[in-house]
């Protein structure tokens, strides 16, 4: 859930939690929550919302969040708990499922039938660049793959060059927890080479699915293997503005991925709650 603070208090508390409040505000907030338990509850609830947004890949200030929350064991435990809670609740029956198990019970008869598949897609790997609607890149934002960015091809657009602050990991650098990739929609099948995402086995993968803003309020993402097995499904997504343009962003846990070919299909959810195909993406994952 993207929580837009609608009160000045809430905005200040978010700034405080992200270490962005000025000293005077910081002191006022601290004195207040020490004196007022209800205000303290409010702060803690906002903190949990921030953590949930981060875990769902919905946080715009992810870098600031990571600086504050991942340098402390106690706060990191809260983040880990949030991940576990998401997974535990997604595994239970609910009106809206957030994930499809790796071995679904249905027998997919060929998910690609009726699709116009394409191979002219470029997977753009930005060395040392974490792509999202985040303003800056720091030394902590490294991604797993050190492959050079692929040249733009027909029907695709290149990602921006890494800025001066980007750091390329050395060849033997240990990757950090999220690898981000920009995927462009697959246009036609032209027999070209399928793009490969090379990731470390314990990384979550954040996929930025470039998409022109359309007429839909929300989108559904359905990710499957070439055999049609469900891998990841997420509803209620919206288009976010990134440095590469508009996109739908999902974060897929490392445990869901293996060396395989995958297809992602985005559907727009109409006013009549019907899913209408919008775009598809085709790629391969290789774990190193």
């Amino acid at each position: 859930m993207v929580t837009k603070p609608n009160t000045r208090d809430e905005k200040l508390l978010i700034q405080y939690l992200l270490g962005q409040a000025d000293p005077e505000e910081q002191e006022q907030i601290e004195q207040r929550y020490l004196i007022d338990p209800e205000f303290h509850d409010h702060l803690r609830a906002i903190e949990r919302d921030l953590i949930d947004q981060y875990v769902h890949g919905e946080l715009h200030d992810a870098e600031e969040f990571e600086k504050q929350f991942l340098s402390s064991p106690q706060r990191r435990q809260k983040v880990e708990f949030a991940r576990a809670l998401r997974e535990a609740l997604a595994a239970t029956p609910a009106e809206q499922r957030t994930a499809v198990p790796e071995r679904p019970k249905r027998n997919a008869a060929g998910w690609f039938s009726g699709w116009r598949l394409a191979a002219a897609m470029v997977v753009l790997l930005i060395g040392g660049w974490l792509l999202a609607p985040w303003p800056q890149r720091g030394a902590t934002s490294r991604i797993a793959d050190t492959s050079p960015p692929q040249p733009a091809e027909h029907g695709t657009k290149p990602a921006p060059e890494p800025g001066p602050d980007a750091t390329l990991p050395p060849g033997d650098a240990t990757p950090i927890r999220v690898a981000t990739f920009v995927l462009l929609p697959t246009l036609t099948r032209d027999g070209g080479e399928t793009r490969t995402l090379v990731i470390a086995p314990d990384l979550d993968v954040r996929l930025q699915l470039s998409l022109e803003a359309g007429d839909y309020d929300t989108y559904r993402v359905d990710m499957r293997t070439a055999a049609g097995d469900g891998v990841w499904r997420q509803d209620g997504l919206t288009i976010v503005r990134t440095s590469s343009g508009d996109a739908v962003v999902i974060t897929v846990p490392a445990s869901r991925l293996s060396d395989a070919f995958y297809t992602i299909r985005i559907s727009g959810i109409s006013a009549a709650s019907e899913a209408e195909p919008v775009a598809s993406y085709y790629f391969r994952v290789q774990k190193r």
Binding site: Y16, L34, S71, F81, R86, A94, E95, R177
Partner: protein, 207 residues
């Protein structure tokens, strides 16, 4: 001549604790609640200020206040929590100035996963084990919730993005409470689960 540094190993005696509670409130039950509220607030303070051991520093702060009260210091304020804040800031400053204080830049932290398990090797296999243990513990803790709590927490986190907001509004209306109150109820259950999972993980690591 500056006063000697506060002895960190001073132990809170029963007498000092009783005096502290009495200063917080004459009613023992309310005093106990205020003590808990202040301690939680101090932990949040130290966490948000980036201290490594917020629980220990919170207890250190409380011990210091209790010792001063035992020694006859008067707290001239309507709300003693404000006094605790001043002491906490001193404790934090001493922590940062201590030669034992270690600042760990984010880059040098283990990068394979987020969480730390004291004393354990930090490799991918161990991290996955820990993740599995955490999930097992969470399943167990969820099963220990009473039915209403379980239903509430499931309903609260149901759906994604835009759908979740609508779900929560409907849930609050169904329960006959304001959205803010629902948020706090969910927070309490979540914190209960967090503590339960922490306890479960600690017991697993001690086996």
């Amino acid at each position: 001549m500056s006063p000697p540094p506060f002895k960190k190993d001073w132990v809170l005696t029963q007498d000092a604790f009783d005096i502290l509670l009495d200063r917080l409130d004459r009613d023992p039950q309310r005093a106990g609640q205020r003590y808990e509220d202040i301690r939680r607030g101090l932990i949040t303070f130290f966490e948000c200020r980036g201290a490594c051991a917020p629980d220990d520093l919170a207890d250190q702060t409380i011990n210091r206040v209790a010792r001063r009260l035992l020694e006859g210091t008067e707290i001239y304020t309507d709300n003693p929590a404000g006094y605790f804040y001043g002491v906490a800031r001193n404790v934090l400053r001493e922590q940062w100035q201590s030669p034992d204080a270690v600042s760990t830049p984010l880059d040098s932290l283990p990068t394979s996963r987020l969480s730390d398990r004291p004393g354990g090797p930090n490799d991918a296999h161990t991290e996955r084990e820990l993740e599995e243990q955490r999930l097992d513990c969470l399943d167990r803790c969820l099963s220990e919730l009473d039915l209403k709590e379980l239903e509430l927490i499931r309903a609260y986190y149901q759906g994604e993005t835009g759908l979740k907001i609508g779900n929560r509004k409907r849930l609050a209306a169904k329960l006959g409470i304001a959205a803010a109150a629902l948020r706090i109820r969910a927070l309490r259950i979540r914190e209960k689960l967090e503590q339960c999972v922490d306890g479960c993980l600690s017991r697993s690591s001690n086996r």
